[in-house]
Each structure stands twice: as C-alpha cells, then as structure tokens.
Amino acid sequence: MVPTNYLIILSAVLFLIGVAGVLVRRNVLVVYMSIELMLNAANLAFAAFASAFGALDGQIAVFFVMTVAAAEVAVGLAILVTIFRTRQSVDVDSLHQLKG
C-alpha cells in the first residue's frame, strides 16, 4: 500500500506548478489552465484523504469542486472571449487598470 503522504506531496507539486503557471505565464488561456490544474491538485488531495480516512465526504467535495469548476470555466472563458474582443490580446498584462 502507498503512504498517503506521497499523494499529498504529489498534490502539492501539481498545485505549485499551477501556481507557477499563474505567476509566470502571460497567455490568459494558459493562466486559466493553471487554475484548473490547481483545482485538480486540490481534488487529488481530497480524494487521497477520503481514501485514507475511509470517509466519503472528501469525494463529495471533489464532486462539488468539479461542478463549480465547470461553471467557473464556462463563465470565465465567456468573459475572456468578451475581453479579447475589445482588447484584441490574450496577454494578461495588457489588463492593468486595477491599480492605485
């Protein structure tokens, strides 16, 4: 059998790769994908804990995360498409109005 720690570490590694993606990539789609990757990494941890503790609630959580992720991706990509149409760029750095 496998120690749960290993899966948690894997989850962390994937999550951090997702973080790195958000932090370093300029292409807005890739940023989005990185977010998905982070969600998946979290899911993996949930599933691992569910298995480790023999409780199904973790899996339920994963289920909800997936649903919400689906909704989020749908709306998020719609927003991206709209923004792209006005700005003609997929560069996140082209959006920097949010400053003091």
Binding site: V30, M66, V75, V90
Partner: protein, 170 residues
C-alpha cells in the same frame, strides 16, 4: 517497493511531467493537451484511490467537457504565442520560480518529515466510492449544497450565453 507504489510513482512522474509541459509549452494547444494528460493521469489515480465515480466524472467533466470549452476558446482567441520572458513585469518570472521552489521545499519537508505518517491508503470496503454510495450521501446529507450547485450551474450557463451573445450572433 510494492507494485502499487511503483504504479503510483510512474503515474506521478507522468502527471508532473505533463504539468511542467503545460507550464512551459509556448503553444496553447500543446499546453491544453498536456493538461488533458494530467487530468487523465489523475483519473487513473482516482481509480487506485477507490473512487471510480470520481474517475469517471474526471474523464467526462474535466478531460471532456472543460477541455472542449478550452478548445473553443482557443479557436476564438487564436493560438498567439507571447514573449513569456518579457512583458512589463518580466522581473516577476525568476521571483515566481524561486518562491515556488521555496514553497515546494517547505511543503515536501512538511509532509515528508514533520507531519508524520498519515496512514496507508486503504480501500478496504467493497463499494467504497461507488456511484451508489456517493449518490446516497449526496442526496441525503449534501442535498442542499447539491441543489445550490445546480442553481449555480444554471446561472453559469445563462451567464456564459449572455456574455458571448454578441460573439455568437456575428
């Protein structure tokens, strides 16, 4: 080294490799494909972890539906490749990698050395994580969140349609 561990390691390596591939590929489509690979690997892992329902959902929802959505988006936005090293905040890149690495080391250290054994994975009971078991839990204890989620999905659907109405009507 048990066979399980070996499988896990292989899967883990594939997942990490694919994730890194996504991180570094300049082409969006490649990145997307790498992400699909990660998700499929995770689906396999779910199976190992005794969550067959999740594995299926992972394949259909993530690897299927969501990735298709991404593909549509790529179609609309095009596959521009940007100068990832430059940009107005190019200085952020090394810092981001460095900090991520630091965090990684801390996490690995934490879970490898500090937290202690969380126990072995066990899928002792038959039917653990089966659709029936999940369904029972979902429609009893988690009924309200479930319904709320459905409303959320409905709202997202409408939202997506409204937001892209101009695009579609062209």
């Amino acid at each position: 080294m048990s066979i399980d561990l070996l499988v896990l390691l292989v899967l883990a390596l594939i997942a990490i490799g694919a994730a890194l591939g996504m991180l570094f590929s300049r082409n969006v489509v490649y990145a997307l494909l790498f992400l699909v690979l990660v998700m499929l690997t995770l689906a396999v892992l779910y199976l190992i972890l005794g969550a067959p329902f999740l594995a299926l959902a992972q394949v259909t929802v993530y690897a299927g539906a969501i990735m298709v959505l991404f593909l549509f988006a790529v179609m609309v936005l095009g596959t521009h490749s940007l100068d990832e090293l430059g940009g107005p905040i190019g200085w952020q890149r090394p810092w981001a990698f460095f900090l991520t690495a630091v965090f990684l080391i801390e996490v690995v250290y934490a879970f490898a050395a500090r937290v202690g054994k969380l126990g072995l994975l066990s899928c002792a009971e038959a039917g653990f994580g089966s659709p029936a078991a999940i369904g029972k839990l979902l429609f009893n204890q988690y009924l309200l969140p479930f319904e709320v989620t459905s409303v959320l999905l409905l709202a997202a659907t409408i939202g997506a349609v409204v937001l892209t109405k101009d695009v579609l009507s062209e």
